[in-house]
């Protein structure tokens, strides 16, 4: 990033290549829309580029990048809620989403004679994650998939370590409650 700050365009290209998959994945886990995820990831890189001269290496670059991503995702969520483009319980992505109760009802007649297949498990897990609050979901994604510590998550979300611990323990309690019957 220091090379990027000095105006090295090749370094910026390398930065995009290194982080693009992680960033797209983060947005996809949060908003479940592949195209919007790419747009937001592109916007995040654009913001990095615009503020490259103001970058100070006081924290890890990934922390800075994901803080930008977190803000973008939050703004996108708020905007979508205001416009009511994405009604609660439905999804703009290319998946067949159903509420957890519906999935449970569909499967209860078949259990335990039949195991859920991987796609069904994925749907159940995704719905369980969707049921988390926005903050809990972000903390879970950063911790689970970015393997970030409570401290790093706190820096990204603008929270103290204790608050992150609280978010994650509540989130994992909810996930356990929603998913233990499928184990």
């Amino acid at each position: 990033m220091l090379k990027v700050s000095a105006g090295d365009n090749i370094a910026f290209e390398q930065l995009v290549l290194r982080y693009q998959d992680r960033l797209v994945a983060f947005f996809f886990y949060v908003i479940h829309d592949r195209f919007a995820s790419e747009d937001l990831a592109q916007e995040a890189f654009l913001r990095v580029y615009k503020s490259r001269e103001r970058y100070e290496p006081t924290a890890r670059f990934s922390t800075w990048l994901f803080r930008i991503a977190h803000n973008l995702a939050s703004n996108q969520k708020r905007g979508a809620a205001r416009r009511r483009e994405v009604p609660l319980g439905s999804h703009a992505g290319d998946h067949d989403f159903r509420p957890p109760e519906q999935i449970l009802a569909d499967k209860s007649a078949l259990l335990p004679t039949r195991q859920l297949d991987s796609r069904e498990i994925r749907d159940v897990v995704r719905n369980a994650v969707e049921e988390l609050t926005e903050g809990q979901r972000t903390a879970v994604i950063l911790h689970k998939f970015e393997e970030m510590s409570y401290e790093e998550i706190g820096k990204i979300m603008g929270l103290g370590t204790v608050a992150v611990k609280s978010l994650l323990s509540r989130a994992r309690g909810k996930l356990k409650e929603a998913l233990e019957k499928f184990i």
Binding site: E13, V16, Q20, S37, R126, L159, S166, L168
Partner: protein
């Protein structure tokens, strides 16, 4: 509890937190200090219910691995770099990014070497500019102008000549000036 939840948004606070779950989660996440982690491990060994709870927390956490992964599409890098070069407004940025080169990379060496290269380039550019402007000035001179300049001396005498009595007189004048542009012409 309020202290624990500081900085949390209002909608993130959902009633009392289970301290046992909070401790187990911190233990599973490796966020407990060593002494506290040892204490939790001892509790797990002695308490089957707590152990089962920890196992469920861990296994439901592992279920998140089944979530669909997303990666950037093949065109993502190109699109992103193109949008950035557009926004940056630098005319050379696009080619610099896409062709993987820049002026900085083309000019090797230290600042002094780069300075010398730039000075030489400036000198060459100035010389080329001077040569081009001289050529352009030459080309701009009209042949009609040259003709006029050639007969300038005769034209200067025009006030005296406009009442020329005859052709012989005109010939005399022409011989005196060394030019004969109007020989055979009537005034």
């Amino acid at each position: 509890m309020a202290d624990q939840n500081h900085n949390l948004k209002h909608d993130e606070i959902e009633g009392p937190e289970d301290p046992q779950v909070a401790e187990l989660v911190s233990y599973l996440d490796g966020e407990l200090p060593e002494s506290e982690a040892d204490r939790v491990e001892k509790l797990l060994l002695s308490n089957p219910l707590l152990r089962k709870n920890a196992e469920l927390l861990d296994r439901t956490w592992q279920l998140l691995n089944s979530l669909e992964e997303a990666k950037a599409s093949g065109e993502f890098t190109q699109k992103t770099l193109a949008s950035i070069s557009t926004v940056s407004g630098e005319s050379g940025a696009r080619s610099a990014i896409h062709r993987r080169w820049s002026l900085r990379t083309l000019l090797p060496g230290s600042v002094i070497v780069r300075g010398l290269i730039w000075s030489l380039a400036g000198f060459l550019a100035c010389s080329a500019g001077l040569l081009l402007s001289r050529n352009a000035r030459r080309e701009r001179t009209d042949p009609t102008d040259a003709q006029i300049l050639k007969g300038l001396e005769l034209y200067l005498q025009y006030p005296k000549l406009w009442r020329i009595p005859d052709v012989e007189f005109l010939k005399d004048v022409s011989e005196n000036t060394g030019n004969s542009p109007v020989s055979g012409e009537k005034p």
